[in-house]
Symmetry: D2
Subunit: 232 residues, 4 copies
Amino acid sequence: MKIIIEKDFEAMSETTKNILLGHMSQDKRVNLSITAGNTPVGVYKRMVEIVKDSPDYANVHYYNFDEIPVPDQAEGITISDLRKLYFTPANISEENIHPLTVENYAEQDKRLALDGGLDAMMIGLGADGHFCGNMPTTTSFENLTYKVKVTGDEPWFVPGEMIKGMEFVTMGPVSVLKVKHLILIVNGAKKAEMVKTVLQGPVTEEFPASVLQLHPNLTVILDEEAASRLDK
Amino acid sequence: MKIIIEKDFEAMSETTKNILLGHMSQDKRVNLSITAGNTPVGVYKRMVEIVKDSPDYANVHYYNFDEIPVPDQAEGITISDLRKLYFTPANISEENIHPLTVENYAEQDKRLALDGGLDAMMIGLGADGHFCGNMPTTTSFENLTYKVKVTGDEPWFVPGEMIKGMEFVTMGPVSVLKVKHLILIVNGAKKAEMVKTVLQGPVTEEFPASVLQLHPNLTVILDEEAASRLDK
Amino acid sequence: MKIIIEKDFEAMSETTKNILLGHMSQDKRVNLSITAGNTPVGVYKRMVEIVKDSPDYANVHYYNFDEIPVPDQAEGITISDLRKLYFTPANISEENIHPLTVENYAEQDKRLALDGGLDAMMIGLGADGHFCGNMPTTTSFENLTYKVKVTGDEPWFVPGEMIKGMEFVTMGPVSVLKVKHLILIVNGAKKAEMVKTVLQGPVTEEFPASVLQLHPNLTVILDEEAASRLDK
Amino acid sequence: MKIIIEKDFEAMSETTKNILLGHMSQDKRVNLSITAGNTPVGVYKRMVEIVKDSPDYANVHYYNFDEIPVPDQAEGITISDLRKLYFTPANISEENIHPLTVENYAEQDKRLALDGGLDAMMIGLGADGHFCGNMPTTTSFENLTYKVKVTGDEPWFVPGEMIKGMEFVTMGPVSVLKVKHLILIVNGAKKAEMVKTVLQGPVTEEFPASVLQLHPNLTVILDEEAASRLDK
């Protein structure tokens, strides 16, 4: 594991953008999987400026790593967020976007294998220790891409925000450990304790992201606040 | 995970030898880590015939993955066994042999990183679910290369064969998951149940080899007996 | 360049088979390109025994590197020969076979890039220094996959055997240098002088295979006769 | 080949810095070879800001690709320039710097193979079509790292600036084609015609950099002026 600590959110975003561009700028097909949410907002802002309408990145393909379907909508929460943050403003061609869905998730690992595997994946860390859709109580380390049905008894269930019986899909630990370069970005003091727990504590399904310690090529990029509890 | 089932011990040995030679025959430095014990005896018999006195494999370097020191002997049990089975009959140059010892183990992961990492590792499976020196009750998944002091209370402690207070060293789960191609060989009906447990059961420190399910490029080579309990 | 010299044709075939199986036995999609002709006959004989009806090699995809169409036949000379020698007896699934044709050659490099590139290619050497369809007088080192129209004035034109105006397609030097592991096999005293010319002489379009000296990971497997003129 | 065209020198430098940082930010030893001269000045200015006194890049090792010794000086022109531009202001540890010299050049290819090979090399283009020390009239495509003795009759010999009988060393075409990711940077209208010649013309020793068309993973970064003569 390589940990890079940057001064603040902007510096974290800048370094992360650089690492992604390093992958994207090679003369071969590059398969990326990138996260939705708030943490990567600064990364995408920078990437859009560079990638928008450029012919230089037509070799880059994008794969979703999780998805939460929305009733009566054609596309789920993750892909919709990624479209808003990056795919639409960067004008990424539809044929380079490979959504994950409740319908196709069982083929995700085979499809990725056929397409040559993921060169890089950028993920965030949940305050409860989750990564992708690998949540406490619903994650088994031996999972490939899988589907979860929410019972309402999960510790992370928020009545009102979530619906009992809803389903979501996610690449599991086995799938994520196959990514050639895994990039974990975390910012903010609120997550500092969980950063320490998952990176320097035991590998346990209680905190799913602790399994990332086993990844053979993991780069963690933190702002100073998120890194503040780490043992030197 | 890719599982190859061969008819018997000889066929398992032949296929394993082929895979190792595939790595060794490239035009670059190749770093291997190979196992002592009974399972690889047929592999080494075949490799010695090919490698002995050949100039074609001077690019291959060998690293031990575990070691049990022997009082009053210059070298430990693992390296002594490897010398007998392979290094001496194949006439491998000393400068291509990199032993692991109680003295140098703390540098093993850094040394491997500096040398470009392990291209392939061939390991066996213990009847109790151990791999390398990662034994039940003494393995934590977050371990890099580490040292274990035997208390005598371990479930695998055999009075008379083992000594209380003895120490051994082993590459841990994190170190082994960094190997670019991991090759697990198992033969015989006695290990059939454990093969199923570690390859198709939960990932748990109770059966340390279950963590190998998380390896991004694992090839398992079994004879039909060892494979007999696997779910199709 | 790594040169492996084996006693005879059978030993050359055995080693080559081992190297190919080393690639094929990994837990990922493996893209191979393999040669037709007489030199690989011993390789395919061995591979058929191992691969035939085995579920273990469904991850392997095969791509042709050259083709000569035959009037009034659905398929060309190369693919027909490969079917006879290997694809049919080994019972390779059609969906794992990717022919090159006069119709699709212009897409070959893009298709290979999309499919993750070739992991290994096994080629032979022509007595005139050609490799694949890269012939003296019609090869430019800057060629990707290209089409050649035979004029009848080529030094290698054999009236009666060849037809003026016929066309063939081949992956060019740029395409072949992109293969991750290139394997060149040559046997027999007749080619000994050309082996020396292309491996130890200047890189020149006069002997197209001399460009293979520039490949970053080339393994050459020779029998003793083919190696007999090489400088030590 | 992947060609990225940036607006100007600053944008070219920014993109090149990003690509290098992408390599440097992985959790493994990274071997780089980087160029002296004027073209990379903007790259180093940016890299110094990021790398200076950072613990995050201790995994990066630097290797010279050519050298011109200076009489009565301990170090040659290239390494002295690199120290001034980057190694000294970025405070790179001496043990991470691996100079090439007239004394050690014959071991350069073997040393690089032992150290795991070069992950990336950043080079420039000479107005006469040279790259590294591969000059017109003194370059053979089959060269590994080699030494050149200047006769004074070379087309690029400048009386007064150069000395007859002086020697220099350089990695040759075979050595450079082994680099995993090759990055060529060129700026300015003066080199526009030569950019077209070497990237879109025939591969010929007359313009040594034309051989770079054969590299399996070449990224070219140009400013608009340097790209102005390229065929679309």
